[in-house]
Symmetry: C2
Amino acid sequence: MTHDPTAQGGWHLTRRRWLAGLAALSIAGCASVGGGSDPLPSWHDGANKQAILKFVADVTREGAPTFVPPAERVAVFDNDGTLWVEQPMYTQVMFVLDWVKANAAQHPEWRDNPVFKALTGNDPQALHALSERELTGFVFTAQSGLSDEAYDAAARDWLARARHPKFNRPYTELVYQPQLELLAYLRRNGFKTFIVSGGSVEFMRPWSERIYGIPPEQVIGTQNAMRFEMAGGVHTLLREPKIDFIDDGPLKPVGIYKHIGRRPILAFGNSDGDWQMLQYTMAGPGARLALIVHHDDAEREVAYDRLSKVGRLDKAWDDALAKGWNVVSMRRDWKQIFPPPKN
Amino acid sequence: MTHDPTAQGGWHLTRRRWLAGLAALSIAGCASVGGGSDPLPSWHDGANKQAILKFVADVTREGAPTFVPPAERVAVFDNDGTLWVEQPMYTQVMFVLDWVKANAAQHPEWRDNPVFKALTGNDPQALHALSERELTGFVFTAQSGLSDEAYDAAARDWLARARHPKFNRPYTELVYQPQLELLAYLRRNGFKTFIVSGGSVEFMRPWSERIYGIPPEQVIGTQNAMRFEMAGGVHTLLREPKIDFIDDGPLKPVGIYKHIGRRPILAFGNSDGDWQMLQYTMAGPGARLALIVHHDDAEREVAYDRLSKVGRLDKAWDDALAKGWNVVSMRRDWKQIFPPPKN
């Protein structure tokens, strides 16, 4: 239950440390969404599935005191650890590491940079000694000046090629089948589904529509500063070496307010970074639902919670238990974790 | 053509000056949208109407080289001066002035503040002597600590009561009937319509859906900094005395990228503050359309352009003429300016 897989992976970076600096890509494959008479076929019958079905019935029953007009049926989902795998390390971090290595040849000035050496060397000691400031400073500087389109292309290219070290599948196939069913079920019932992630928007938008059915304009996340300018006779957007907004913890409700302008009625997270988003969602009037994925399935996925450096679930878990929020056990609630392989 | 109505109004505040500090409200009434066989009945036949009809036909014709998939049919509209009246002063500024006056009694500490005295007195000299820093500093401090919901309520209340000084109608009835028809026509053809305004989001979102058919999550604008916290036992969002993002000029393409993540294929503005949004839209590949409202109708609305302090149209006009963008004459292209009065 309190196993920390990152300790073996040689990674001791906090979530916030990595939220600040990374970014963009796309994917291969689209997961199938279950149908038939059971809208959530990959969910075991149990209290959590029943709570979801009851909630959707309640808010869609016209004339009921629990009815919510379609325009106000806003559902927000964290991404890393809630919709797809986040262990042994956030996918975006893997992308950035590979990007730095792949671009090293064109940047001889990096060669003697201690951060670069720590990132690309095989010395865990040097890596752990890096401060957040050093790390994000290097990544921001390295990627600044990239255009929106160049970043998008790099991310798409990487996602098409990269494989997860444990599951040996493209990352975009390591999305949770029960959640794909839930997203589709909510949309069929008039909900608008949003991602509210600590990851950066440029890394999610190239594939969120194809994989989750969530269009780019419904992806809220960490934002890099950008500037608009003429470059080579073409008007374009270029990355600045600066972060604009870190969409994590108490800033998740702020990100929701900025972007959506309505309080959600359903929120689904998996870590303490989602705690305030869950609180904000539940603090409104009328019918509401808060859900948390508990990663307790070491066999089919990874087991981690209170002591994990990546996706720690501690305070939000205590609060969920105290308030009766729905804690979804990956092991007991989900019949299947991932969609079947594409080929 | 180059008449400056603000010179008579006693207002010498620049747009940017006012963009920074203001905010929130709602409305009365919903304007009718024309239908029938002509999708744009309030538009005179002419080159601009034909350009719109041709563009929509081009991007929706499957198999044509100009076809654009529905998901990529993003249309962005400025608000002040493009969708509703902005003279003699931005509506949001009128709201903030009234808000300051209405709240003065509960704030005896304002009484001797020179900014407050200038804002509420009848001394144009004192008003003009204010610096932008003094002005926005006062407004930010005065409104900081207001919750999202309190702000929303204040804006709704004001909009229900306020009347435009020239037209003596609620501001939300002073929207442009031809634009309501265009928004609806675009949506019927698979477009997603967005507002991209220098005004602040909290002032537009309470009424954008009812009046324009544009939901809050498709309103992009200037953003005040917010913080999430417990207040009186309730989780809420409170205004900070600080602006987060000014959605004007070269930051409009940045706002579009942050919020939508796709380059629009149609942009409609009316002032130099929309110039870069128009450039960014037109710099992409494939079929694209740029439009500018020219306020040349002193009789039915207000005539202003190159010399106006509010909604100045100068550089963007020159660029439009050079590039053949569509400059829409309010006088010659629009049969009707406003929807009929509600009662």
